[in-house]
Amino acid sequence: MKKAGEQLIRIISSVINDDFKLDINSDFNFKKIIKLAKFHSVESLLYQGIINNNIKVDNDILKDLEKINLKYIYKEVTQEEEKNLISLKLEENKIKHIFLKGCVIKYLYPSVHLRSMADLDILVEEKYLKTISQIMKSIGYTVENTGGNHDVFYKNPFMNVEMHRNMIDEVYLYSKYYEDIWNKLKKQADKEYEYYLTDEDYYIYMMTHMAKHFSNGGTGIRSIVDEYIYLKHKEDKLDWDYIYREFEKLNLLEFSKNIKSLAYVWFKDKESNERFDLITEYILSSGTYGITTNSMIVKGFMDEDADKPLKNNKLKFLLTNMFPPYKQMKRLYPRVGKIWILLPFLWIIRLFKIVIFRRKRIKEVYKDINEVQMDDVNKVKQIHELSGIRIKGEEDEN
């Protein structure tokens, strides 16, 4: 994977730096590169790189990529249209909102479709969520899920919209930093109820969001591309004193500097070292949003004593997942979860639902837990240490 990863990064680099002089030799295994690109949702960047560098690849492979690229275009145009429609409806109903993540960064990419987006992320005030649910239904969406950090809406052919209560899920320590977010936001000049983050605050948010993923299941190639593209467009204009002060508050200063350097190692020919090689390897193995095994290790095994067997903690991890603590249950069942006496009853309902609807998932989780070895735990610990992630990222829920 390492070799394919390095080659994929080189191809992506040519696209985002608009420099198409890649010397591709027979050493490039495009089957492996495409598999990795799919794992990281960067197929369009790969396709663009192949076309613009005039790289000769197998016709079937090229056709497959072309098809995926068209899907990304289709998705982006649809998402943009829906974004405008939703914004219009929220304006009409006088509901303050801000578009987050891909909705913002995609405009800095050489072409908007090159930044894939699984869903639209919108922050709104919690008190409006019921009204928003009605609005979304009125424009053809179904309510997929409510409660937790965001309500989820769906519309054919592939529109997922997440209406967030918080900038960062409140189970993570970073969420505290964003408690007073509405006072920090700026109003869009031509809108009454649409807001935006300043360039500095967007950068801080992007890094915080990345840290949340990195410190749990891991983060993918796309997040480092986002980082580089943002710096490429904004670095000289940003107030770095302010940014570094805020990163100090978030305990993310060292992590942010490492990620910035890593982006320059990948895309600006900055020299690498063992630290960046290991972080690169970890990111390449994590996929777009991280992997379950890493997430399990962080949630259940980071305090593991190297001299003791993992068995005890595996059982503890399973039991905690079967019977989540009260705080987590309150989030999963916001309406009735506040009545603590119902907790055993809610555990049974949840277990019942999981057994009925997510049987396959249970098997996967069980298999993943069984496969966790002390080496895996040590590897995650080492990567956290090297990257500068100083806190677990998730609040102790007990």
Binding site: N52, I73, V77, T78, E81, S111, N156, P157
Partner: protein
């Protein structure tokens, strides 16, 4: 003759793509790729135009023989009609 409402023409990295949005996405699932001549005809048809006018515009813009232009326009329009994209 006019392209139906709800189809967006986008130029992406030198290629032209038509994407259905809103109600149109319920009638047409997928994307249409066009070359530059196809994109030209599409743009003209978005405003509504007769076949004769379309042929004249193609001749004036691309300096092609009227016969060739007529053949291309008729082919293009029949594909659009077949896919129920014009009204």
């Amino acid at each position: 003759m006019k392209i139906k409402e709800g189809y967006m023409l986008r130029e992406i990295a030198g290629n032209f793509v038509v994407v259905p949005v809103g109600i149109a996405s319920k009638e047409f699932n997928g994307v249409i790729t066009l070359n530059s001549t196809g994109a030209f005809l599409w743009k003209e048809l978005m405003n509504g135009l007769s076949i004769t006018d379309l042929i004249d515009r193609l001749v004036a813009t691309y300096e092609v023989e009227k016969e060739v232009a007529a053949k291309d326009v008729n082919n293009f329009v029949s594909i659009l009609k077949g896919a129920n994209l014009v009204e």
